[in-house]
């Protein structure tokens, strides 16, 4: 919108918008930032569907992990995990092996190619978050993650 050339008061939407009760709600405050991060990451790494990066990282950090555990940690339904795994195998980034101890289970492993991809995606994620992290001091970052620990623990008591 061009600068106003009249003396008419600007419309309400030219003012700073009041957040009202949303200002104090964790959910709203999270969503705005999370949306922004998701979009940024998706632009940097369009080949990775949501959940793909998380799943790959968890497989990398927990060789032999099962799909059910992945489902719990990533926060997606087990059926959704199936399609994420299909994608990871198609890309050659992870593989399913029958668990010898429980033949119902798939033991999941990251491949050499998958590790390379994970490193790349991790780098994208870091660069995507860099501006936000740099807005905080070292101490604030530490505090922040400590608070997130507490919050997540409170989500699943017991």
């Amino acid at each position: 919108m061009p600068p106003s050339t009249t003396n008419v008061a600007p419309a309400a939407e030219d003012f700073e918008v009041e957040l009202g009760v949303l200002n104090e709600l964790i959910g709203f405050r999270f969503r705005r930032i999370h949306n922004h991060l998701s979009r940024g990451f998706n632009e940097l790494a369009p080949e990775a569907k949501p959940g793909t990066f998380s799943a790959l990282a968890l497989i990398g950090a927990n060789p032999g992990v099962s799909q059910t555990t992945l489902s719990r940690e990533v926060g997606f339904d087990k059926a959704t995990i199936v399609s994420i795994l299909d994608g990871l195998e198609r890309l050659g980034w992870a593989e399913r092996r029958r668990s010898p101890s429980d033949r119902r289970r798939h033991a999941l492993y990251i491949t050499r190619e998958g590790q390379k991809a994970l490193d790349r995606l991790h780098d994208h994620a870091r660069r995507n978050e860099a501006p936000i992290r740099q807005a905080l001091t070292e101490e604030e970052q530490t505090q922040f993650f400590r608070i997130l620990d507490k919050m997540y623990a409170a989500c699943f008591p017991g």
Copy 2:
């Protein structure tokens, strides 16, 4: 799973899962908590589609606000805002009036019923977040929101 009756070492997924690189990523840490909050809120208030509560709160706090401004603040496409507004009008919670100063715009207003609904939804949201907030000291809550301010500001420099 029943408690193991053998001496066999538990499968990998019985151990605490390693988050690996995800542990230090804001996006992942946010998503897990945000997912949990979204689901809880949706159970408490299934009549409110995502964005409905936010939109209503913003209209209440900014009488006469436009759909475009709403779109920017809620973080949804303007076409998505149209359907949210349709819903709000159908419920009798908000109304569109032609802006007299710019007849392209709709000036949005909350209704008396809408204000009641907003209070109710706000209460749901507070109760939904209560366990998480109570995990933090007063000081931590203050720090946390201050840090969120900084982070959001860093999302949209300028």
